[in-house]
């Protein structure tokens, strides 16, 4: 590969990914690929009961199983002061292994350490636990009654975890009361699970210096290091966290899980490395679920469709522990973005969260902390309002968009939207999809009794947490960082506090450095995930990598450039003020012929630096001044089989505005993937519990992931409205399609069914739900 200096920019170039050669050759390095001499395996004993008192735990038989070295229980951990671990936003704590009672089915009860994977499972099966079942609280509405208190360990004897609200309650109520038109709907965003194909896992090992070497599936390795130091009391310098290649994350790999703590305790107690790799069932039943928001949405409007007020009251099911990985001040995440792309004069949003006998979580599943829930609520409700007003949902949206000239736009719920051009994005969508022709076709089909639907979603996200004055996790401000070293021959390395799980940082980060320094991105190595080498960062989730770390990289590169300018001045024999950076090289102002490349300057920085400090490197910790606000206009076209209820997504077009695009290949790939997850949520994915608290979706035969057969072909488009406060104008994109698409799918289905009088169906929209809705409508009309 050449190390020739760049004569053209690196941004917007569809560079093939630098990380791919290792993945396509089976040389990726995931946690389960790590093996160490003497390594033991950990298997966890899990509760079959959703709520039960633990009468006794008998480990004697397990200890007789060949290969089993040790068994630990919650009492052992409690005695060592490790019984509980803090949850990330600090409002609750979570049992590592059950103490006294279990609170959800599949909760961790005991940890078995053995010589082999199979022996550990054998040992876990031999642990005898005597349970006395307790009454189960399987939904937040039952929890609300406080007839059964699930968490007597807490000071307040109630299942109510918190009440959060934003906006003006009284003014909103008044405005709604005075609105000529009102709609109200309960919209449920079902419980689902990110289910990355690689489950969670770790290898814990104390090296010869007594230092914890911890390899773990973590989207936020530095935060893990700090959390582990706090939980275990091990000094933070004695903890080395490495997050190797991750087989997807989607938010699932943000929280710290009990298995990790058990592996560390086992490694310390037994003095040998310990590996823990969860099974798919363990993944789906005990680690980070998402959503489970019951949202009562009320919108007021004038008769001609001008929005007057929005009220959303949410009942949130948080499961047994409040393990949502939200920033400290935001227990309901960024739910305040629920006004969406619309210029509401007044609004009020509130969330009440409850404990239930379900798995803990509430993580941000491919979204920025509850943005998906908010986006779905408003986009679904806008269609219900359009139906009520009997106007085109596109017109309703257009009429109420925040207009281009209103940016920076202060929303009534407290965000300052940085930029956007919603009208333009929607226009591109309408043009590309051929909306008028579709409407005509729909009229014809309806006349024949055929069910065809067109559904829109014109969403706005808030991502890139976040400015330190508002955002922290465990008290640590949500900045991010980058460190860049340029080597003498003009190649280099950039290290960041983020961690790719497939997003392609090894390529896109190199492109940012290449753009800023005029170097070949093929020779800019990117390293992430190692807390010994990377500067402190808060990690990759909530679409924060490009908005925060991407900005840090650009700023660090500019610091490198400033240092390089001094060396360049020496080389060009002029004063520093006479040197300008132009066309990806340094040149004497007004004398383009007199120039030096960054590659030449890099060599000089080590060989001919004159009075300047040797070397060429810089770091930058970036505290974002604001969030970024990616947006999009999506449309789904569906056909429904009247006899079977089968929904066929005929077309889906996503037009995204994520600001400046670093790599269009990667951006499009992210959009395809996010749309597929949005499709999955709209039609397939649900973690259901029965009334007794049993999890009904414990593996991939019950928790349905779309295959290549079901997944529609995706069409994409773009508008580019750069973020005014981001150094390169980028906004982040990985989550937009998952945030924006569910509403478009559901709106299309309901549009198709609207001639039958169907107003709303909760996700996932399965064939049987559609079939029932059609049959019910037919019964009512005959």
């Amino acid at each position: 590969m050449s190390t020739e200096p760049k004569s053209a920019g690196c941004l917007g170039v569809a560079m093939k990914r630098k990380e791919d050669p290792r993945f396509i050759q089976g040389k990726g390095h995931y946690v389960d690929d790590i093996s160490m001499p003497g390594m033991l395996f950990l298997s966890l004993v899990r509760s079959p009961y959703p709520h039960a008192e633990i009468k006794s735990i008998d480990i004697s038989e397990a200890m007789q199983v060949p290969g089993v070295k040790a068994v630990i229980t919650g009492k052992d951990l409690e005695a060592a002061g490790l019984g509980w671990l803090p949850t990330f936003h600090g409002l609750d704590k979570q049992m590592v292994l059950a103490i006294g009672k279990v609170l959800f089915q599949y909760q961790e009860v005991a940890a078995v350490f053995a010589e082999t994977r199979a022996a550990a499972v054998d040992g876990a099966e031999a642990v005898q636990v005597d349970y006395a079942p307790l009454p189960v609280v399987a939904d937040p509405f039952t929890a609300k009654t406080d007839e059964v208190i699930l968490r007597p360990d807490r000071e307040n004897k109630t299942n109510h975890i918190y009440h959060w609200e934003v906006g003006d309650k009284d003014k909103t109520a008044t405005a709604l009361a005075n609105s000529p038109k009102r709609i109200k709907e309960r919209i449920w965003f079902q419980r689902c699970h990110p289910a990355p194909l690689e489950p969670c896992g770790c290898v814990a090992h104390f090296d010869s210096m007594g230092r914890l070497q911890f390899y773990v599936t973590s989207q936020a390795p530095h935060v893990y290091r700090t959390a582990l130091a706090i939980v275990t009391g091990i000094p933070e310098d004695k903890i080395h966290v490495v997050s190797p290649d991750l087989g997807g994350g989607f938010g699932n790999k943000v929280p710290v899980y009990p298995g990790y703590v058990c592996a560390i305790v086992g490694a310390l107690k037994i003095g040998r490395p310990v590996k823990w790799i969860e099974t798919r069932t363990e993944n789906l039943t005990s680690t980070g679920f998402a959503r489970d928001y019951h949202m009562d949405v009320e919108i007021g409007a004038t008769a001609d469709g001008r929005l007057t007020a929005l009220h959303v009251a949410t009942t949130a099911d948080h499961g047994a522990f409040d393990a949502a990985a939200d920033p400290t001040k935001y227990p309901a995440g960024m739910f305040g973005v629920v006004t969406g792309s619309y210029d509401f004069p007044v609004a009020h949003a509130e969330v009440d969260a409850y404990f239930t006998n379900k798995a803990p979580g509430g993580i941000a599943y491919r979204c920025s902390f509850r943005v998906t829930e908010a986006s779905y609520a408003i986009e679904r409700a806008m269609d219900i309002l359009a139906d009520e007003l009997a106007i085109d949902p596109v017109e309703l949206r257009r009429k109420n968009f925040v207009r281009k000239e209103q940016f920076p736009y202060p929303s009534v719920l407290g965000f300052t939207y940085d930029s956007g051009d919603y009208q333009k994005t929607l226009d591109v969508t309408l043009e590309k999809i051929g909306y008028q022709a579709l409407l005509k076709e729909q009229v014809e089909k309806r006349a024949r009794g055929e069910l065809m639907g067109i559904g829109f979603s014109t969403f706005t996200e808030v991502v890139g947490a976040g400015p330190s004055k508002h955002f922290d996790i465990l008290g640590i401000k949500m900045f991010d960082s980058a460190e860049i070293r340029i080597h003498p021959t003009g190649s280099g390395i950039v290290r960041t506090g983020t961690k790719s799980q497939g997003q392609g940082h090894e390529t896109t980060w190199a492109q940012i450095v290449g753009e800023e320094l005029g170097l070949d991105p093929q020779n800019i190595m990117v390293e992430e995930g190692d807390t010994d080498t990377a500067p402190y960062g808060l990690g990759t989730y909530a679409s924060r990598s490009t908005p925060v770390a991407g900005a840090a990289i650009a700023m660090a590169a500019r610091r490198v450039r400033e240092k390089a300018r001094k060396v360049a001045a020496h080389m060009l024999e002029v004063g520093e003020a006479d040197v300008e950076w132009k066309d990806y090289k340094f040149q004497v102002k007004g004398v383009p012929a007199k120039s030096v490349t960054m590659k030449e300057v890099a060599f000089a920085a080590y060989t001919n630096m004159a009075q300047n400090e040797p070397g060429l490197e810089a770091s930058y910790y970036y505290d974002p001044p604001n969030m970024t606000f990616p947006s999009g206009a999506y449309v789904a076209v569906v056909d429904i089989d009247r006899e079977t209820g089968e929904v066929k997504v005929r077309r889906f077009l996503a037009v995204d505005d994520c600001g400046t695009i670093i790599n269009p290949l990667v951006v499009e790939g992210q959009i395809h993937g996010g749309l597929t997850e949005g499709f999955a949520i709209a039609f397939m994915q649900e973690i259901q519990y029965d009334k007794e608290g049993n999890n009904l979706n414990t593996n991939f035969t019950d928790y349905l992931i779309p295959t290549s057969l079901e997944t529609p072909a995706w069409e994409t488009g773009k508008t580019v409205t750069p973020s005014p406060h981001h150094p390169i104008g980028a906004k982040g994109v990985g989550e937009s399609p998952n945030v924006g698409s569910p509403a478009a799918f559901v709106n299309a289905v309901i549009d198709a069914l609207s001639p039958l009088g169907v107003r709303h169906i909760d996700m996932p929209i399965t064939r049987d739900k559609v079939w029932r809705a059609i049959r019910q409508a037919e019964v009512l009309t005959t």
């Binding site: 093939k16 990914r17 990380e19 791919d20 050669p21 290792r22 993945f23 396509i24 050759q25 089976g26 040389k27 990726g28 995931y30 389960d32 690929d33 093996s35 994977r117 199979a118 289910a195 990355p196 194909l197 690689e198 489950p199 290649d245 991750l246 087989g247 997807g248 989607f250 099974t279 798919r280 069932t281 799980q501 497939g502 997003q503 392609g504 290949l665 990667v666 499009e668 790939g669 992210q670 395809h672 993937g673 749309l675 597929t676 997850e677 593996n699 991939f700 035969t701 992931i705 295959t707 290549s708 057969l709 997944t711 072909a713 995706w714």
Partner: protein
């Protein structure tokens, strides 16, 4: 029990428990960690390998003992020296992977798909890959990659 499996042309003779799955035999006995495990129910296809140059099999659903005396091809055996297999090249060219976890299984399933159907339509490919889950790509670029490879001569197992 003693098991003898030829993987990527190399004979591996190992003493294993009878219940050892082929996936773990490859990963832990042969040290070939390119074969991944993503579920417990043979749903995801991350563990697909090629058996006797003819069948794509889910190695999590087969005992190592059942592969005794057989030939196995894993992702590590695809490239020829420094030259990528046309399918590997196509996955790279078409951005047919993101996290890389499903990729080995996708590649090996695709090889057998193309062996039995050298000129597949898009729907043939989508049907042929339906036993392999991907959470990142939405399949579209994987389909394109298989189409690219199908257009490349010399796709052979």
């Amino acid at each position: 029990m003693k098991v003898n499996v030829t993987v990527n042309g190399v004979a591996y003779e190992r003493e294993v428990e009878a219940r050892t799955l082929l996936a773990y035999f490859l990963r832990e006995e042969c040290g070939l960690t390119g074969t991944h495990v993503g579920c417990d129910t043979s749903s995801c296809g991350c563990c697909v390998v090629v058996l006797d140059s003819d069948k794509a099999v889910k190695s999590c659903s087969m005992f190592a003992a059942q592969a005794d005396g057989h030939q196995v091809l894993t992702v590590e055996g695809l490239a020829n020296g420094g030259t990528l297999h046309p399918l590997q090249q196509a996955f790279w060219d078409q951005h047919g992977l993101q996290c890389g976890y499903c990729t080995p299984g996708m590649l090996l399933t695709s090889i057998i798909l193309l062996k039995h159907n050298p000129n597949p339509s898009e729907s043939d490919i989508r049907e042929g890959l339906a036993g392999n889950l991907c959470r990142c790509t939405g399949y579209q670029n994987i389909v394109k990659a298989v189409q690219q490879a199908a257009g490349t001569l010399g796709v052979q197992v």
